[in-house]
């Protein structure tokens, strides 16, 4: 059976050929086609987000700024100051200083708690290893991505800042969006 490429063959259209008249005629037609295509883009409408007012939605597993968590019922911090996140951090941007819980001053559910918990976000590479290393799900990657600031020292986030809810929630991308 002889080889029949059939519909697989795509004819390659090259630059205008066949003399000035046919070339001009074709260029004119193609120009009109191009104009039509461009007007179609207008009809489609803008595809942009008006950024500061309208934020780009993120996917649920987007790794943004970290969050520290509390137990919802007791209000105690989940973090027990084990420093596993600091050990896992490839950028070495987490600093944890642990202290003992006492009956008068009970901060976390475990034996110890994080007296100091700092993340230097100017060094963080948002890999999410801290989240994976944490045995108590005390630290997770949030959805906030607006972290620009005027000073490097302002980018060192303390425990209070990481525990607080962000001022403005970043929108989540809905299914299929």
């Amino acid at each position: 059976m002889p080889y029949d490429p059939g519909a697989d063959v795509v004819e390659v259209v090259r630059a205008p050929k066949g003399g000035a008249v046919r070339g001009t005629y074709r260029a004119f037609g193609e120009t009109l086609r191009g104009l039509k295509t461009v007007m179609g883009r207008w009809v489609e409408g803008p595809h942009t987000y008006q950024y500061p007012e309208e934020k780009t939605p993120v996917y649920p597993r987007f790794r943004g700024r970290h969050k520290l968590h509390r137990f919802e019922d007791t209000g105690l911090e989940k973090c027990v100051g084990c420093s596993l996140c600091a050990a896992a951090c490839p950028a070495d941007c987490i600093r944890v200083v642990a202290a003992e819980n006492t009956p008068e001053n009970r901060v976390s559910a475990g034996e110890r708690y994080a007296a100091v918990y700092e993340i230097n976000l100017s060094r963080c590479i948002f890999c999410g290893y801290c989240e994976a290393a944490c045995p108590f799900d005390a630290i997770t990657m949030g959805h906030d991505y607006e972290m620009s600031d005027y000073n490097r020292s302002d980018l060192i986030f303390t425990k209070e800042m990481l525990l607080a809810e962000p001022l403005e929630r970043t929108p989540l991308r809905s299914m299929g969006e």
């Binding site: 000035a20 120009t31 191009g34 295509t37 461009v38 007007m39 942009t48």
Partner: protein, 340 residues
């Protein structure tokens, strides 16, 4: 005394002065509007909004741009020729505004008992006047680039010279058909001819296309913006310009777009006429402006569509396609005009 040209209707000097001021004011107000409109329209064509931050809908954007340019330092390169460098944007502005005087917004009308022609001037050699100033306009570009003393500016100005000359020929020949059919060079008379007959876009469609495409080249608009081709020549003839002088070039470019659109509307789209209706006289200037803005919009549309031509393609298109086509168009028109 030799009479160079006659004017269609003679007015007192004070009316002419007033008219000049009013037309300059009106046409010049369109520059920032067109400037903003271009950026917004281009944005829409590219799936975005364009400037919308400065003021409501971004309407103060051109003011911010112009303000920024005017407050910049007047800068001049070491190797430039001072007086030419300063003169070039002035020439560009001057010629653009001068041609704006030709655009007829209406016939002579009666304003408070005084007969006033709603145009700057209506000389019997209107078309020639337009082309004469078009010919001077390219001195602005050439001198600007040449006197800057930089190679990119120089290359840009050389390109401008070659391009403007080649396309002016095709543009002039495309208009010959119009002039032959109307039997006059006066712009108001051309509109009057279209009142009695068809709009000239129908019998002179080839001429219309050639004129419009040549107008793109004459105003250095994409796809013919070779003189300032920013990808190759930084900014072409205006590379070394900044601040107010650059604003002069910039404003002249947009003024040229407006004026060339208005002239196209006059020559081919029936000026102030609307088909099948005879509106009151005060509508006429609005009709002209609407037609002008429609053509200006077409300029933006083409800019968003076509990529810049290569230099040899530009020259081939001008000399091998448009010049013969315009010649044939003029010949056929001549035969038809004589036959009927």
């Amino acid at each position: 005394m030799t009479v160079l040209a006659k004017v269609g209707y003679y007015e007192d000097w004070w009316i002419q002065l007033l008219k000049a001021l009013v037309i300059f004011a009106v046409v010049f107000q369109f520059v920032p509007i067109v400037l903003l409109a271009e950026r917004k329209v281009l944005g829409r064509f590219q799936h975005r909004y364009g400037p919308n931050r400065v003021g409501p809908f971004g309407i103060f954007q051109p003011m911010a741009d112009i303000g920024k340019l005017l407050f910049k330092q007047q800068f001049r390169p070491d190797g430039s020729i001072g007086w030419m460098f300063a003169l070039a944007p002035a020439i560009s502005m001057f010629t653009a505004v001068s041609v704006a005087a030709l655009v007829p917004f209406s016939d002579t009308v009666d304003i408070f008992g005084t007969q006033v022609g709603l145009y700057g001037i209506d000389p019997s050699i209107g078309v020639l006047y337009a082309f004469a100033f078009g010919g001077i306009a390219f001195y602005g570009l050439v001198l600007g680039g040449w006197s800057s003393g930089g190679k990119y500016a120089f290359l840009g100005s050389m390109r401008a010279a070659a391009q403007l000359i080649s396309y002016e020929i095709a543009q002039g020949l495309a208009l010959v058909g119009v002039v032959m059919m109307a039997g006059t060079l006066s712009l108001t008379e051309i509109v009057h001819y279209q009142e009695a007959h068809l709009w000239l876009i129908i019998p002179q469609f080839v001429g219309f296309v050639i004129f419009l495409v040549a107008a793109f080249a004459e105003t250095n608009r994409p796809p013919f913006d070779l003189p300032e081709a920013d990808a190759e020549l930084v900014q072409g003839y205006s590379t070394e310009y900044g601040g107010g002088r650059f604003a002069g070039f910039y404003a002249a470019e947009y003024l040229n777009i407006i004026v060339v659109s208005a002239l196209t509307a006059t020559f081919f789209l029936g000026g102030w006429l609307i088909p099948f209706v005879d509106p009151p006289t005060w509508v006429d200037p609005i009709v002209v402006l609407v037609k002008t803005l429609f053509l200006v919009f077409f300029f933006f549309w083409v800019r968003a569509t076509l990529p810049r031509l290569r230099y040899d393609q530009l020259m081939a298109l001008g000399w091998k396609v448009f010049l013969p086509l315009a010649t044939v168009n003029a010949l056929v028109t001549a035969i038809l005009v004589v036959e009927t």
